[in-house]
Every structure is written in C-alpha cells, then in structure tokens.
Symmetry: C2
Subunit: 230 residues, 2 copies
DNA sequence: TATAAAAGGTGTAATTTTACACCCTTTTGG
DNA sequence: CCAAAAGGGTGTAAAATTACACCTTTTATA
C-alpha cells in the first residue's frame, strides 16, 4: 500500500461491506442475488440525481464515483467513492427521495440491490444489521472528517488532499486526472483560475509533474505537508 | 412552529429516536432502562473528548450540545444537537475510540446507554435495527447537507444560517447566545473580527436587535435571504 | 481586592480568492 | 468542414477575509 498516512480516520478494524455480507446465510445470499442486478455507467455519466425515488441500494463493483449534494442551488462534492463502497447508503434509507447525486468519474459497474430485499435482510438477520450499522457509522465518520478537513484548508491544502486521494484510489503516485480542471475546481469549491494556478505552482515547485491530465507526485513529503498545514 | 423553511432536508417522515424505541417489547424496555443512567452537564462543560473509548451511546434528554471534530490540529463544529437527539451516534459504532468531541452549550441532561445493551437490542429486534438505520440515515443526510450548506457561504450567510438554527433550537426569534463571540466565530470557522463586524452590521441594518448576548431577529425575511444567498 | 485573563470592539494593512478580460487550443455537433 | 462551445491558461483589479495593533470592559482568581 502507499505510504500515505491517514491520521484521524484510523482504518484499523473498520467494517467493510464484504464483512457485512459474510454473516448472511446461504439462503439469504440467494435472496440477495435474486434481488439484485448490475448496471454499467460510462465515464462522465450520471448515476443518480438528487430528488429521485430511493428504490435501490447501490454498490460499486468497479469504478470511481463522485458524490454530490445540492443546497441553495449550489452543488458541493462530498466524497469520492471506489470499488466495494455503497453509493450514499448513508442517506438512502432516510427519505423517499434521494438527497444526493452521483456521477461516474471512470467507467463504473454498479450492483443494484432492491431496497425491500435489503430491508428484509436487516430485519431478519441481527448480525447483518449490527455490522451494517457499524459500517455506516465508520463511513459517516470518515465522511464528516473528510469534509471538515477539506473545508478548513485553502486552495493548496485542499488540492493536495484531493491529489493524495486520487493516489489512494488509483493505488499509484502516477495517474490520469478523471475530470477537467474546471470540474476539479468545482469539486473543491474554488474558481477554475485558483485551481489552475495552484496546479501550475505545484508543477513549477517540482511537487508534481503534469502533462495534460497525466499527473505524477514527485515529492510526496511536501505534498503531504501542504495537505496537513495548507 | 417557526416560519423558517428548510428547503433541502425535508423533515417529513423522518424517523425520530422515539420512533425507534417504540417498537421495543416491554422486556426490552426494561433491559434498556437497566443498562442506562443519566448525567448532568453544566453549560460550557465537555461531555466527551475525541479519542476516548466508545463505551456508551448518549442521548440528549434536555439541553443543547455542540459536536466537534478535530483534524490536522484544527477543530470544526459539525452540528448543534438538542432534545431527543443522539450525541454522535452516527460515529459511535465505528471505532473503539470516539471520533468527535461534544460540549454542552446549555445545562444538559444526557441519558447514557451501555453500548453492549444497545448492540444486543439491534441484534435481537429487527424492526428496531431497521428504524435505527433509517434514523441514522436521516441524521447523516442532515449533517452532510448542513455542513455543505454552511461551507459554501461567506460570513454573512454562515452567520445567518447559525442564527436561524438558534431560533429553531430555542423555538423563539428572541434568545440568548449560548456562547461568546469568539466561540461563535470558531464554530463558523471565521475570525472573531469578521464575526463581530458582521453581527454589528446585522444590528445596524435592523435585521437583528442585539444587547450583549440577547439577540432578537427583527427581519426574518432578510435574514433568511442572506442565509440562502450569502 | 488587585490583577491578570478573557471577551468585545474598531481601523488598517496584508493575504487569499474571485472576477474579469483576454487569448489560445481542443472538442463537438450540424 | 466550419462554427460554437468547452477547456486550459495568464495578468490584473476587486472583493472577502484575516491578521495585527490597539483599546475598553467584564470576568476570574490568587
């Protein structure tokens, strides 16, 4: 794994989605399989839009997804999600209508599970329910810390955090930016000019090596420092 | 109720903590009562600190609580909580150690429920588990929208949102600020100078009437407008 | 009660960020 | 294939916010 440290959201003993499914009986697994299907989304495609009826639980089989919320006509990116993560499960149970939007940043395969199937499993399998609650709890905790951390930074810090997140998602210090600079600026809540200038600065300072969308982290230590203190 | 509209986080059909407890059998209610106790906290007192062992679930019986998270040595206020709300239940199940801090903004009575008792109820009562998940889901959704909304505003907008939240908590357009201006500035993530100047501006513009900590909202319409657009 | 510490407050300089005005290049659609 | 739109980029002015310097009042506490 990469040498990036995640200080506050200690991942030791965090319950994964697979941990939850492992306690299901073979009958329950069959029910789950029968109540679910797969859907492919292309890079850039909208997976769900805030306001739609919440009929399903969605699980990322493979891909990268951007989770957004819109309030007062402004859209905020809340988190990036990847393989093995629920798309906004945290909020899916809350209302009849979804309170978030999701967009594929890479070609993404999503497992769609009927809400009623899922709810039935929660009611009938206590261990599954408890593990799911622990998983949701960990995800919410991570989400809140992520948002708090990102929002307490200036452009440089926020960009550094996001770049390190991309490294984590792509499991490499070299990756292709899955969005435009304008999109990245919007994700971070800064103007495109600020974002572009900061990216150029990182390039000039030899923290990054940038070729169009191709980004390589050259100085992890300095980038990590900016993420923490900037 | 107050005439404040909450656009995006529609509260219709949100499951409350009491809704969850209502499905417990009389035996389970006895277990719950035996596994819980009450504690009083004075205004300004720390209820829990990030990093402590998560042994309990805490429920606000009466009072006002400020929920904080600390990342990279910076503390962010995440939400204000009031009567009938869990103190960070969302995160309590996640790790062995708590990932948030809580401070009483008013004299507060907290019901402390043993984690093991709670977990046992989740495992044995499926309806309770499902309702709890729906409750947590709604709380998380609210939290995320609250944070996104607050963070996408300038001082004026953020202050307006917080003042309206106080109106909601105290169920009145006239209330006493439960914290100092320095504390309010920290809560909103702005400097004390910015906060004080904005508060003075609202007073001068006759949106508020301010006497020390005593605040009255004079022009709800304008304040609501600033909360939305500022 | 004396004294320090904390809170409340104001004006001004410095910093951060956005907005604007451009310009060039690439992509997209009729 | 051409025009328009979108993306990428830069310099400079304008706006938002902080930081600093300073002052007064209130609150703790030795």
């Amino acid at each position: 794994m990469l040498g990036i440290e995640y200080k506050n959201n200690s991942n030791r003993s965090t319950i994964s989605v697979n941990d939850c499914f492992e306690v299901l009986t073979s009958d329950e697994r069959i029910t789950l399989r029968e109540g679910s299907s797969f859907l492919e989304f292309e890079k850039g495609e909208t997976i769900i839009k805030q306001g739609f009826v919440a009929n399903n639980i969605m699980l990322i089989d493979r891909g990268v997804v951007k989770l957004d919320v819109t309030d007062d006509h402004k859209t905020t990116t809340v988190k990036l999600l990847s393989d093995g993560q629920f798309i906004g499960i945290i909020c899916s149970f809350a209302h009849k209508n979804l309170s978030f939007s999701a967009e594929a940043l890479e070609n993404t395969r999503v497992e769609i599970i009927e809400m009623s199937t899922f709810q039935h499993l929660i009611q009938s399998n206590g261990s599954f329910a408890l593990l799911l609650i622990q998983h949701m709890s960990a995800m919410t905790s991570g989400l809140v810390h992520w948002m708090a951390r990102l929002n307490s930074k200036h452009v440089e810090g926020a960009l550094a955090i996001m770049l390190l997140e991309f490294c984590k998602i792509y499991k490499s210090y070299k990756f292709e930016l899955p969005i435009t600079r304008v999109g990245l600026a919007k994700m971070l809540g800064y103007s495109k000019e600020s974002l572009i200038k900061t990216l150029s600065k990182f390039n000039k300072d030899e923290i990054l090596s940038i070729n169009d969308k191709e980004i390589e982290v050259l100085d992890l230590k300095r980038l990590g420092n900016i993420a923490e203190k900037g």
